[in-house]
Amino acid sequence: MRIAFRALFQKDVRMLASGKFFLMAIGFLFLYTAYINLGYLRFMQMEPYSVYLYDPAGTQTEKSPLVQTVSSMEAMKTALLSDANAAGLDASGGTIRVVLYAGAEAIDRHRADYALSLLRSSGGDPPEILGTNTPEQKARKEITCELLFFELSAVGFLGIAAVLFKEKWMGVLRVHAILPLRKNWFLLSKLAVFLVSDLVFAALLTLLNIGLADGITVLPAVLLQTALLSLVMALAGLLCALLLKDFRQFTLAYLALAVFAATPVFLSANTSVKFAWIGYHPFYHVYMGLKNAYFETAISPIYCVGMAGVIAVLFLAVQLAFRRETGKGG
């Protein structure tokens, strides 16, 4: 029986290799690492908004060096036209007047406060800093977590479905129905291949982007969350591939998942946008589980038990769908 499982596992590895899955995973690993180190961190270090000041009398003596002075109101309007997110400060009338292109109300207020703050000296009491992460390390962990979540939920989901669709199209699922093997093993070997691949990917992405020392500390918790998410997504991918007719239908389902499932989760978890119903969104808890692992926040055992339950239910559903599929036609 061990030999049968090994044969299934080796075949699945070959299927993934022939579909260039591993090559793509390595490509994504380099792409994400390049993006984090060459793009995202630099972007996070940039000033949020440009600030232009028109002050013909030179009244603002304590202004920050980040403030750019313009020679006239026309010059300011030209600058704001080319950089619509910037804020302008008009000090020509004695009092300070904020000038900007309207956006969202809360953001506009933030831009105005930020622009005005640059006119004051930077003295005063500094805020109390919580946690031990430096801003860069915090940014590294956040983006690594987001990219890993994306990789596991989107790429893994697509990858396993692509393999199963190929097998469905070749008709070999029906052959497995009459082979002397436990039918569950056909599914388990696929899950095992994706699990191993996802765990290796998660470990490399974490170590490459948050560093060896920090990486090793968070790795056990990250790998546990990776395993849970990987199994859930792989099972969801298998279920979709078994129930849906072809890959075109699957890509539509995938788009719906990406738009309606992932977007609100990212918004709620990483921005000040909060939806009242987000607590009922299963992906939100999965994402927060991964984020908590990176930031070494305790993960509720109830959550882990719940995930194990979800995996068990999904596995039963996949088994039923597999039996239904192998009994069709032919």
């Binding site: 044969a7 022939s18 052959v175």
Partner: protein, 282 residues
């Protein structure tokens, strides 16, 4: 080898596919299962191969009730050739067979290369991916897959479909060889020539009912009109006459100078099938 008693099966409430089938297949027999599309052939084969459950009636294979025999041991004893050549198209013939063979005990496995040679798969293709094979080549590799485990019971669904005439002759020869080794063969087919040439007995299935079961020869004899058509020459003219076969016992019962040809009016297996079911096979 196979014993089926009162087998019924329904897909949902109002879609009864099988209406109480009764038949038995002896050890070492080649048994033909014939019927038009939708007659219940595939459903029966799926039940016999353990793919479909939820049937009523009694089905025994190898002397054991099939409902208790769906484990790996059961599948070790059967080989199945599907109507279409289901193979991993990204793998070569050798890799496909090595993969499928790996699920069977070593002592049961046949030599992959020997098998492919027997099925006349071109040696230059052995290491090429199956995607580059013709339909006939794929069917040969599929047959090799069905035989790789030296099964005691072989299910063949349209075995010669997609093969050229020489391929069909080769398959029939191989099936005969398997029978000589003691393998029981259950053939599902539309091909009357295959059924007539290969099968010891055939069963006709129509709308989920078994309407006839006998040897092809007896079925044809039973349904023959026992007439003979004679072409002959008389006074330089060519004439044709149809007479009862019995009349020939007394010699040719009419004046003639020369007999040109003599045709018995025995029906083909397809004619017999149409007589029983009122419809053709295809």
């Amino acid at each position: 080898m196979i014993a089926v008693k009162n087998l019924t099966f329904s897909y949902g409430k109002d879609k009864q596919a099988l209406h109480g089938l009764n038949f038995a297949v002896e050890d070492g027999e080649i048994f033909g299962f014939l019927g038009p599309n939708g007659s219940g052939k595939s459903t029966t084969q799926k039940i016999l191969t353990g793919i479909l459950k939820g049937y009523n009636g009694k089905v025994s294979l190898f002397g054991q009730d099939i409902s208790a025999a769906y484990g790996p041991e059961f599948f070790q004893k059967i080989g199945v050739l599907f109507e279409f050549p289901y193979l991993y198209t990204n793998l070569s013939a050798v890799d496909n067979l090595n993969y499928f063979a790996s699920f069977y005990p070593k002592e049961q496995r046949r030599d992959v290369r020997e098998l492919l040679e027997m099925l006349e798969v071109k040696s230059s293709f052995l290491k090429k991916p199956v995607s580059s094979y013709s339909k006939g080549m794929r069917q040969r590799v599929s047959m090799a897959r069905a035989l790789i485990s030296s099964p005691r019971l072989l299910f063949l669904d349209e075995p010669t479909s997609g093969l050229d005439p020489s391929g069909a002759v080769l398959f029939r020869k191989i099936i005969e060889q398997e029978r000589k080794k003691g393998t029981t063969v259950f053939v599902t087919t539309h091909n009357m020539a295959d059924a007539d040439l290969l099968c010891d007995r055939v069963a006709f299935l129509s709308n989920g009912n078994l309407v006839a079961l006998d040897t092809p020869k007896r079925l044809k004899e039973k349904n023959s009109n026992h007439r003979v058509v004679i072409d002959y020459l008389v006074q330089g003219r060519r004439e044709t006459k149809t007479i009862e076969a019995q009349e020939l016992e007394q010699g040719i019962p009419f004046v003639h100078d020369e007999i040109v040809s003599l045709h018995s009016q025995e029906p083909t297996l397809e004619d017999v099938f149409i007589q029983y079911t009122g419809r053709g096979l295809s």
